[in-house]
């Protein structure tokens, strides 16, 4: 009963964040544009060599998502700080994990929507062909995004109290993201290169393990992070 009520609270936070984002529009457009821009820059830097472009595709795509996604995480808490709404949010009779769950859900959907724009651009720009089907690659994208968004949402809450949060968040987040980034890029590469799942499987398993660890740890620790 109480758990169901808490889930409804998390859903309310998610709805509030997404509605606010949808109406302001500026955030999504900027993040998606930055993602595409990073891909273009990688494309220019790598030159016209088709083979080199294909080999770099997964790494370039994940870095584009990481760099652009950081903007989204900062905005997620900026919404609360702008109008002084963080305190009222903390005052509702709900366990703190509901706030994390709501913001995680909103950020995950946001990042997946950005990926829906950035991934097709990467496929065209880097001339990527999948021999194992796009379904597996999409699954890896979702798994990688879960790990990325979990840590991003967690560290954004930590950095949100700092005046230098725009600088602090990447400094806190990127070192922690190395395992997720590595597992995501390697499993994406293995799938796009046509290797059967037994090659990519180990990386996917690692990615799942990181996701589970990060999700559980973030939910447990969030209570202490959000306290003033």
């Amino acid at each position: 009963m109480a758990f169901g009520q808490d889930l409804r609270r998390a859903r309310a936070i998610m709805w509030k964040d997404l509605t606010t984002e949808r109406r302001s529009k500026a955030g999504f457009n900027a993040v998606a544009f930055l993602g595409v821009l990073i891909l273009l820059l990688f494309g220019f830097a790598l030159g016209p060599d088709t083979e080199a472009l294909r080999e770099a595709a997964a790494g370039a795509l994940w870095l584009a998502i990481l760099f652009s996604g950081v903007l989204a995480f900062n905005r997620s808490y900026q919404l609360e700080l702008d109008g002084g709404a963080l305190e009222p949010l903390l005052l509702y009779p709900a366990p703190r994990w509901t706030i994390f769950a709501g913001k995680f859900g909103a950020n995950l959907l946001f990042v997946l929507l950005v990926e829906a724009i950035v991934v097709p651009v990467a496929i065209i720009l880097f001339q990527v062909k999948s021999t194992t089907g796009w379904g597996s690659a999409a699954g890896v994208m979702v798994l990688g995004s879960i790990g990325f968004v979990t840590l991003g949402t967690f560290y954004a809450s930590m950095a949100s109290r700092s005046r230098a949060r725009e600088v602090l968040l990447p400094l806190l987040l990127f070192p922690m993201l190395i395992p997720v980034l590595l597992a995501s890029v390697e499993s994406s590469n293995a799938l796009l290169a046509g290797n059967p799942m037994r090659d990519a499987g180990a990386w996917v398993q690692l990615l799942v393990a990181f996701d589970v660890i990060f999700v559980v740890a973030s939910f447990l620790a969030f209570d202490h992070v959000i306290e003033v």
């Binding site: 009520q5 409804r8 609270r9 859903r11 309310a12 936070i13 709805w15 509030k16 509605t19 606010t20 109406r23 302001s24 919404l79 702008d82 109008g83 002084g84 709404a85 963080l86 305190e87 009222p88 949010l89 903390l90 005052l91 509702y92 009779p93 709900a94 366990p95 306290e227 003033v228």
Partner: protein
Amino acid sequence: MNTSEHSALKLEGLARRFGVRWALRGVTLEVRPGEVVGIMGHNGSGKSTLLRVIATVLRPSAGDGWVFGNHLVRNAVDVRRHIGFLAHSPGLYEDLTAAENLRFAAQMFGVAESGIPFVLERVGLGNAQDERVRGFSAGMQRRLALARLILGSPKLLLLDEPYNNFDAQGIQLVNEVIQEARRGRGGALVVLHDRRQGEHVLDRVAELGHGVVVGVSAGATPLSLVSAGGMTH
């Protein structure tokens, strides 16, 4: 927990430190059910910090506190069920409409959304319920924040300069909300700069100075320093 047998608020040596600076240095205070207590003091005396600690937004660095028998740290979620905090900043979402802000609050409070139109009418925003808060004046935002507070049906009101940005009608509305809490055997802690603003509703006034209660007075009588009887320096 049966809350009827407890004080609305009981603080024992409550302290809070920011870095090396003590904002509160041991506040002992009790608000009985049905009582409205004013808090006064100079800028930086710790009034707003006191409300934020009671509201569980800030953890106390030392001391204890209970809201209707619920400990401020150990039973923080239960404390939040009983309190309604009206802060300086309205804390609204500017890209949501007035009704959407209250719908979100109702879902977070876990109360029915059917009361939203009534509450909006009560605070005089019935005609503006579908307008985004971004276009609201400071007074309208304050009214909406008050509507959110009413929606939660709190037993203990924590009001930080509640009359700011309100016209005469708004001030009367604030006083009505305080009187309702009193009649419901709840309580209120009201931070004021000018004691005349709350003279019709206050039962006692406690004066804060440098993070401690330095004096209390009953009703509208002049403030007098006390040396004992629940005061801690």
